[in-house]
Each structure stands twice: as C-alpha cells, then as structure tokens.
Amino acid sequence: MISSIFWILSLITVIGIIISKDLLINILLFGLFGTFSSGAYLFMGAPDVSFASFALGAAFTTFVFLISIRKTGKLTVAYLEAPYMITENENGEIWGFEFDVLKEYANSSNMDLDFIKLESLDDLKHHSTHIDILAGGLFEEMITEEIRKDFTSVKEIPTRIALDKNGDLRDLMRIKSLIVSGEQTLDFLTESKTSEYILLISKHDKDMYSKINSFIKKLKDEGKIEEYISRNLG
C-alpha cells in the first residue's frame, strides 16, 4: 500500500524530469527519484536494496552529475577590443568592466568562460564556432540588421556616443582612452548624444537572455555594478 504511493511519486518525478528543461532541476529530480524508489523498496520488505538504491541513486549519482554539469557549462564570449570595458593587458590577461560582469555571471551559474577576440564585427561571419555572447563596448547604433538576426541585446549601463571627424561613431570609453593616451583632443568630436552599452546574447539559448537580464538587474539592485564601474571605468 505505502510502497505503491512511493512508486506513484517516483513516476511523477520522472515525468518532471521529462518536462523540465533546467539541468539543475533535472539532477535534483533524479535524486528525488532515487529517494522515492528506495522508499518503495523499503516498504516492500527489502531494506538492503533500499539502502543501496538510496546511497547510489539519491546521493552518489546526484553529486557526480552536479560536478559534470560544469562540463556542459561553457560560455563562449566573442569580444571587440574596448578599453576599460574588455581588453587584454601586457601579460595576456583580460580585464575590464564587462569582463567582471561576465565572470560574476559565469561564477554564479557554475560555468567556464571562453574568450575569442574579434578585429571587427564583420569577423563574426568567419567564425564557425558557436558564440553565446558578444561583448566589447557595444552600443545600439553599432549593430547591423544582420547581427540582429542571431542576437538579442541586453542593456548594461548608460554612456555617451559622438561622431568623430571621419564620421565614425565613438563611445565614451574609447574617447577616454584616446584622450588619455594623448592621440586626440576633445575638439575632434561632434554630435554627442546619450546611448547605452549592451551585451548581445545569442538567440540559440532562449533561457540565457532572461537569465543575464535578471542577473544585471540583480547586480544593479545590490550596488555591485557601482563597484565594478569605480574599479574599471573610474
């Protein structure tokens, strides 16, 4: 009688595994299934089998799966060199504001980051590897329709953009680095206006857009984004 209740419960967990698309929830449901089936064995009068089922199905396998989730958890980030936002130093280490945000996101969801450097946005066509996130001081005005087909944008922080003498759009951080290095003075700019830095998220993974969006919102609520700004952007 009681064992049949456990069998029904384990049936429900299996249905849950099939329906759920979140990997972490799937693993926890699998552990729950091991627990329910061990309960069923117990009430059928086989405590030894029940123990083995519990130790292996509910505990050991769940942990091994939780660890191997990191194997699939890999984010490929393609970036344009953007001073203060995401850039490489002399030692080959990447640093910057967007790097900090992405790293925090990868840490919070147990993923590894992989970086690919792009010379320009046109380079995207030549890359055969799947790219999850595009970064590097991007703003809405930079993005062509072609890129929009594959990526959706997530707003990060406000900025200003301006036209330089050649008619190219430049953003605040790129202007800052040019001025700091002494290559340009402020007067080469015209038509400045406000805009916003964005991250581009691949449309392949439908969950990722909402996840990163809510993650950035959370960072703003907790005030962490101020910390990253003062550390990298000044």
Binding site: D22, L32, T35, P47, D48, A52, F54, A59, F60, N110
Partner: protein, 237 residues
Amino acid sequence: MIKKLFNYSVIIILIFITVLLILEINTIPLNNIPEKYSTSVLKDNGSLNMVSAIYLDYRMYDTIFEITVFFIAAFGVSTILSNIPSTKQKSANIKISKDLLQNNVSVNLIFLLSTIFAVYIMITGHLGPGGGFVGGVIGGTGILILSGNKDLYQIEKDFEKMKIHNIEKYVLIAVPILGIMTLFFTGNSLVNFLPQGNPGSIFSGGTAIILNFLIGFKVFAGTWTIFYHFVNHRGLI
C-alpha cells in the same frame, strides 16, 4: 525565487524521507519469507540479516566476481584517463556546495557524519540492512561532499600518502584468499569458518564482519578513484 524555493523544498523532502527511512528500518516485519528459510539461515550462518548471510556465505562466489567487476571498472577509468592530460587548473575545488550548503562548517560536519555512518553500516552489515557495498558508497559520497570546500588534489595527495590505492589492490586479493583459507579449516572453499557467535551481537555470523569491511573499503577506494579521475579530466573527454 521560485527555483530557489523549489531547490530548498527538494532538500527538505530528501531529509524528511531519509529520516522516515531510518525510523522505519527497525520496524519492518519479516513477512513473505517462509519460516523454514529464516530459521535455517540463522542456524547455519548466525547472521541476523539474511541477505548478508546469503551474499557473504552461500553466494560468496558471485560476490567475489562482483568485487572484481567493480575493480576492473575503477582500474579502467584510472588507466585510460591517466594517459589524457588533465585540466590545467591551480585548484580543483568544485564549489558544488556554494548554494546548497552555505559554509565550510556544514560541509565538514556532513563529511564527518557520513564517514561515521559508513563505518557503522560496514561493521553492522550482518545485523541489519546495509553492508559493505552501501557503506563504501556512503564513504565515497562523504569525500565527494568534502571536496565542495577542500582542494581535490590535496585530498588525492593525502590518499597517496596513506597508500590507499595499494591497500585497495591487497584487499582485492585478500577476499579470495580468505575464501581459499576455508579449505584448510572446513574442507570446503568459500564457506563460513569462524565461530558463529551469539546472533545479534557484533561478533556473530563468522567471517561476515571481516568481509563486509574489506568489501566496504574496496568500494570506497573504487568510487573515489572514479570520481577523482572524472573531475580531474572534466571538460576534456
């Protein structure tokens, strides 16, 4: 928020059912088993746990090969993966416990409890449910949880210092040797040759306690070997 709530409720249900299991184990009636078997096994072997009596005495032959299969699995994993270069990371701290178990104290506490529980299950395998296999897996899981906040390479170094992998191989040989030794005592191989003792006391059931401990150690070392190599080479295979 809902997902977090869900995760927590899953953990609560897991804990609830675990408690229920532990409470219920003592109150299970031995129904459905013909009295003839239960009394004759008790008289033959002296173990209160009939399942343990069967796989450590009547079906010892199968058990030896079961251990061998487990050894081959662990040996295969370690041999094949040792030839593949490992992940170049300074630390192999896996951080699985970051959300589930809030701090280091709880991880260490769970490790301690699971180790004690594993040893308890190993040495009382002939009195109640459990035995070597389950005890070994619980011990392995305890170390697995410990690696949530301790460096895996450090644990592996400690294991090498204690020569656990060598002892594992001796244990594999020890079990058949114990079986053959019975030839000299009783004239038959793979039977119980030690005194049966008083059923219900720790030293009853003859060789059951030794065999349970050996098998438990074997399974513990095997699960650790498999787990270490999987983590050490994750993302490369």
